[in-house]
């Protein structure tokens, strides 16, 4: 270790000892006889002096690893009820279950309601996907006690986006732990592993299993109902992870799959083939822009009709086209136009229509969002610059909010900058799983359910999501056959359904019922 590193290390240890002493003082103070009114608990800020590396070959030395955290206390009023909660932001070490050897230092932010019966109070582990994404989107956009107001799908919300108390927070129903995958947030591998060790379908799920195991043990949550909540790549992660947890003896109560892609082989964006399963999403987006003939009165009914149309008419025609170049009839091209608003001539030009071409041409001169097809930006405008206006709309604001919230809200100050997205991860990721080049995680979910038939599975879908289209997910889940624990919900909105205010409200209601339901 260099002199400089020794000095930093020495400083880190001293600060840690001070923090421990302070925490001990607090514990002693709280054991004193009750006053007439209990003193509110004092926040314990943490200053993290560790320099984190997010490159493929980076790793922390064992001596740099701590399980320190910043602890803050707050309260929120939801539906007239005041809930006091504790926010904990820090690291826990994921260790190999067989050897006990440290694998990675995982950064997390946990929100736990105070004075709860841990035998009954659920704990839910949240994570986004990428792979290579931190959990910032779910953390600051969905069901934490605080959230960012984006105005989605409008693009006119003034900057900076407000950061407010979240009246749809799930803190009234479950404790929440937002996990940052290795190479994101402040999570890093521990030597002799490197970050790249955990950049693969199987190794990533395994280290998540090991972090969750550590969290449950350290926080005495082994008896609590346990849930997983993943978004996007977080959903195939959930399938693999759920099976690993069940095999390892950790029984889950439920898994929530939001905006799922459970089988990369059935999605034309990744494995080629038919874009048929995307069509109901195109239709929903067309309907949103009032381009569908006749204009549907009810989105749920319309979606049903579109599934039937794809299954019975469009999909067989695409299959014939792909197999033997069978050209679509003029009648079918007109039907496609009526159902989506996308011109018949353009359907003829791209009969197996990919989402990028659809998004580029539905509204002439403009580009639609991939995450949320309702977000529209004029070609050449800043919002259109990176190919997905719905993503560009929110990325900088989420980044700025996190960089502010960490030190000022969570009282976690760091030398390193929180890594929102890791661009190296996706390039180095090992995709092979169960002998396939791209992961099909439906068998993993099936294996988890075989071990735990009472597992509650909830699939949440945005109608206007063109990244993980809802009909594609339904077809994947359909392979499971009838399983009693499966529930599928749909909402107006895109990939990050919760950014749309009316849908976040509906999701909250459905989720509370889901948590309360018996397995």
């Amino acid at each position: 270790m260099s002199i400089k590193r020794k000095l930093w290390f020495g400083l880190a240890v001293s600060l840690q000892l001070c923090a421990l002493a302070f925490a001990a003082h607090q514990a002693v103070a709280q054991e004193a006889p009750d006053a007439v009114m209990a003193r509110p608990p004092v926040d314990q800020p943490y200053n993290d002096k560790t320099l984190y590396g997010f490159g493929a070959g980076d790793a922390l030395a064992a001596a740099q690893v701590t399980e320190s955290a910043a602890v803050t206390h707050d309260s929120i009023s939801i539906n007239g009820k005041t809930i006091r909660y504790t926010a904990t932001a820090g690291h826990l070490t994921a260790a190999d279950p067989k050897t006990g050897k440290p694998e990675a230092s995982i950064f997390y932010v946990a929100y736990t309601a105070d004075k709860q019966n841990t035998g009954k109070r659920p704990v839910t582990f949240f994570y986004n996907g990428g792979p290579g994404s931190s959990s910032v989107w779910l953390h600051l956009g969905s069901f934490s006690p605080k959230r960012i107001v984006t105005g989605d799908p409008a693009t006119t919300q003034p900057l900076p986006f407000p950061f407010v108390d979240n009246k749809q927070s799930l803190i009234d129903t479950t404790d929440m732990v937002f996990i940052d995958a290795v190479g994101t947030g402040f999570s890093e591998a521990i030597s002799p592993n490197t970050n790249q060790t955990f950049w693969g379908v199987d190794s990533d799920a395994a280290v998540f299993r090991d972090f969750i195991t550590r969290y449950l043990n350290v926080n005495h949550r082994l008896e609590s109902p346990k849930y997983l909540y993943g978004e996007s790549y977080g959903t195939p992660r959930t399938d693999v992870l759920a099976n690993l947890l069940e095999m390892g003896g950790t029984k889950l109560t439920g898994v929530v799959l939001q905006s799922a892609i459970l089988n990369y082989n059935s999605n034309a964006d990744f494995n080629g083939g038919s874009y048929g399963p995307y069509f109901p999403g195109y239709a929903a987006v067309g309907a949103y822009f009032k381009l569908v003939t006749p204009p549907p009165a009810n989105l749920t009914t319309f979606a049903k009709q579109m599934r039937t149309f794809v299954a019975g008419i469009y999909e067989p025609a695409v299959d014939a086209f792909l197999a033997s170049n069978t050209q679509p009839s003029p009648n079918l091209l007109n039907q496609l136009f009526f159902n989506s608003g996308y011109p018949a001539a353009l359907w003829k030009a791209d009969f197996n229509l990919d989402e990028t071409t659809f998004r580029s041409n539905l509204i002439p001169g403009s580009l639609l969002g991939r995450y949320d097809g309702r977000v529209v930006a004029v070609n050449g405008s800043p919002l259109a610059a990176d190919g997905d206006p719905s993503s560009t709309l929110i990325t900088q604001q989420f980044t700025d909010s996190m960089n502010d919230y960490l030190p000022h809200g969570l009282k976690y100050t760091a030398v390193s900058t929180y890594n929102i997205e890791n661009g190296d991860t996706i390039q180095d990721w090992v995709w092979t799983h169960d002998g396939l080049y791209l992961p099909d995680t439906i068998p993993d979910l099936a294996a988890a359910i075989y071990q735990n038939p009472k597992l509650k599975v909830l699939s949440e879908n945005g109608y206007h999501d063109l990244a993980t289209p809802f009909y594609n997910t339904e077809l994947d889940l359909g392979r499971l056959g009838p399983i009693s624990g499966l529930q599928i919900t749909h909402y107006r909105g895109g990939h990050m359904i919760y950014l749309f205010d009316p849908s976040r409200l509906l999701m909250k209601g459905d989720l509370v019922r889901y948590y309360d339901s018996r397995s």
Binding site: K98, N128, G129, G130, P131, S133, S232, Y233, N243, M247, G248, G249, T250, I261, Y264, N265, G272, L346, A349, D350, T356, T357, R359, S360, N361, P364, L367, R370, N379, G380, A384, A385, D386, G387, D388, S391, T395, E421, G423, I426, Q427, W429, W431, D434, G435, Y437, L438, D440, I442, P443, D444, A446, A447, Y450, Q451, P453, K454, A467, G481, P482
Partner: protein, 132 residues
């Protein structure tokens, strides 16, 4: 050194257009996935997609979904069966991290043999409502 730099400069010029994926059909500018590589969750790099297409293994076509799911549990069972006896003791299950078997061992071991076969494990799962 100078010739290396020249080579790299030429290579960059030649390779740059290849990196941009363009649709040939529409008049409007097609956005490239490269620009949003970091943000395009879910996203798969082009070389991985190409390899997958070459391999072209149909999903769950050979073995059924049920077979593939059970195969995963069988693999874990085999891992625990360190002496290849065809059966597993509670200690062996624990050693291998097969907590599902270790934690439910007494119920799986219906004949009180002190060891369980994979068939015992399957029977136990079915008895608890597993649908296979």
């Amino acid at each position: 050194m100078k010739s290396l730099l020249t080579f790299l400069a030429i290579a960059a010029v030649i390779l740059a257009p290849a990196v941009q994926a363009q649709s040939t059909v529409n008049a409007a500018t097609t956005p490239t996935r490269q620009g949003m590589a970091q943000l395009g969750d879910p996203y798969v790099p082009a070389h991985v997609k190409a390899a997958a297409r070459v391999a072209a293994t149909p999903a769950a076509a050979g073995a059924s979904l049920q077979e593939r799911a059970l195969q995963k549990l069988q693999a874990k069972f085999s891992e625990a069966d360190s002496n290849h006896s065809g059966s597993v003791t509670k200690a062996q299950a624990q050693q291998a991290g097969f907590g599902f078997v270790a934690n439910n061992f007494e119920q799986i071991d219906v004949s009180h043999a002190g060891r369980v076969t994979f068939d015992n494990v399957k029977s136990y799962m079915r008895a608890n409502g597993a649908n296979f």
